[in-house]
């Protein structure tokens, strides 16, 4: 079989004495939509931070398209085609919405630290950015500072920046947190579209979203994966219900509440 997009081998992370990630082995195949769920404090975000290079692993390795990226810096990893969003919105508040998106693609478009060419001259950038604005439905907010967008809009922009670079591995941490049903539904559609033909890894507590989007689900509990499987099987999995979903009917309630 082909090399998976992301492969974790016995990944570990501890802060001081406390072990947060206790040996995670995971393979995320190219082009799959993979969700990671688990109780609060299980280590989902930490796992994201490890893969995306925000934290350095205390042990084990991370492979991106078969290349060992453990211990690399965030920007190095990003340059290798992995892009992530954040659980708490993380944008460039004083720059215009348009510029936020453009910043997301400058590097991958190959302009790097260039100080000899003018961004306004770079048609390709402008057009591509505007396409993405359309995509995330912020075209009409183009020139206002991102800081004044509403919460939901900022979440959308968050995703916009994340995908701007055209990375083929995208990681989203609770993309629909704090959104209303309707907003959530739009977000799900958006995510579905932008992750076409790409590898998507996401953390989400909204079971509706998870079961809706994910091809595969991993359950993380106290820093260990207790299951990785298809949505249906996860739903049925006793251990998972124990640790996370609670009793079946509760789960139903949550899902459509």
């Amino acid at each position: 079989m082909t090399e998976p997009a992301i492969r974790l081998r016995d990944l570990r992370k501890n802060f001081g004495r406390t072990e947060i990630i206790r040996g995670v082995d995971l393979e995320i195949g190219k082009g799959t939509r993979h969700a990671i769920i688990g109780p609060n404090g299980a280590g989902k975000s930490t796992l994201f931070h490890l893969i995306s290079g925000k934290y350095e692993p205390s042990g084990g390795q991370i492979f991106l398209h078969g290349e060992d990226i453990s211990g690399k810096l965030p920007f190095e990893i990003n340059r290798q085609g992995l892009s992530r969003s954040f659980q708490v919105t993380n944008i460039f508040p004083r720059m215009s919405v348009f510029e936020n998106v453009r910043c997301g693609m400058l590097w991958s478009a190959g302009y790097r630290y260039a100080f000899w060419r003018l961004v306004d001259q770079l048609r390709d950038l402008t057009e591509e950015s505007e396409r993405i604005l359309e995509e995330i439905g912020l075209a009409d907010r183009r020139d206002i500072p991102a800081g004044v967008l509403t919460y939901a809009e900022q979440r959308a922009l968050e995703i916009g920046i994340t995908i701007a670079g055209g990375a083929d591995v995208i990681m989203l941490d609770e993309p629909t947190a704090g959104m209303s049903r309707s907003e959530t539904d739009q977000a799900v559609e958006l995510i579905r579209r932008i992750s076409e033909g790409k590898t998507l890894v996401m953390v989400e507590h909204d079971m509706g979203v998870v079961f809706d989007l994910a091809d595969k689900i991993s359950v993380l509990v106290y820093g260990e994966l207790i299951a990785t499987d298809t949505p249906e099987r996860i739903r049925g999995n006793k251990a998972v219900q124990e640790a996370y979903l609670g009793t079946a009917e509760e789960a139903e309630e949550m899902a459509d509440a």
């Binding site: 609060n40 708490v88 609770e174 947190a177 907003e183 979903l245 509760e250 789960a251 309630e253 509440a257």
Partner: protein
């Protein structure tokens, strides 16, 4: 306990609250439901004096509209903000300590109670709040307010970002709180939990109260739910 009459509030020019009316009795759990952006949090902030209110807010027989936030809090009103506003630089324990109004003086709730309620917090008691997990932060904000021994707690979307399991746990907690004679104003949009625990519910729309009733009545009332709530 709390009586809100014709409450108005503005953000700059935009008129967010346009005459809100409701009341909460002793030891009562009341939910304030509604779509995003209808002004539920604003209502909470207006009561706390964080957003300048006009109108009348009577708490334990005293008019508190126009008082400063800290004065309102001192009178026994507790507020659990939405989106996890913990103090990132301080440890979990310090966060809780700041909850107390007078140093060392804890009332109905002690630090230990909190840790018993959420064991996670005990483990993480000495790590900076900023690095706590989203869920842990959510729990922390709740506990921090309880440490101040309020008579009425306004809880703004406490279940946001919590694992389904914990959500039910929070529900139980709220009931436990009420059991100790503390009134609760629950600002929610997740119907399930709100309906399961509250005695009465208000539905908000466009800065006004558009419905009042018991959970069962609301469950029964298809039309209101379709028009003002999302299902």
């Amino acid at each position: 306990m709390l009586e809100v009459r014709d409450l108005h509030a503005y953000y700059g020019k935009s008129h967010i609250l346009q005459g809100v009316n409701f009341e909460i009795g002793d030891g009562e759990i009341v939910s304030l439901l509604g779509r995003n952006g209808v002004g539920r949090s604003t209502t909470a902030k207006a009561i706390m004096g964080d957003v300048p209110p006009n109108g009348s807010i009577v708490f334990k027989g005293e008019e508190i509209a126009g008082l400063k936030p800290h004065q309102i809090a001192q009178r026994g009103l507790g507020y659990v903000p939405e989106n996890r506003d913990i103090f990132p630089a301080l440890t979990a324990r310090q966060n809780l300590l700041l909850g107390q109004k007078k140093a060392g003086k804890s009332g109905r709730w002690s630090m230990e109670d909190m840790f018993d309620l959420f064991p996670n917090l005990r483990e993480r008691a000495d790590v900076p709040g900023g690095v706590l997990s989203g869920g842990e932060q959510q729990m922390l904000t709740m506990c921090r307010t309880l440490m101040g021994d309020p008579d009425l707690v306004i809880v703004d979307e406490p279940t946001e970002g919590l694992a389904p399991r914990v959500v039910t746990q929070v529900g139980t907690l709220l009931e436990a709180i009420a059991a100790r004679g503390i009134s609760i104003l629950l600002v929610e949009q997740k119907l399930a939990i709100a309906l399961s625990i509250s005695h009465r519910v208000y539905v908000m729309g466009h800065g006004r109260i558009v419905y009042e009733g018991t959970p069962d009545e609301l469950r029964a009332n298809e039309q209101i739910r379709r028009e003002w709530l999302e299902v």
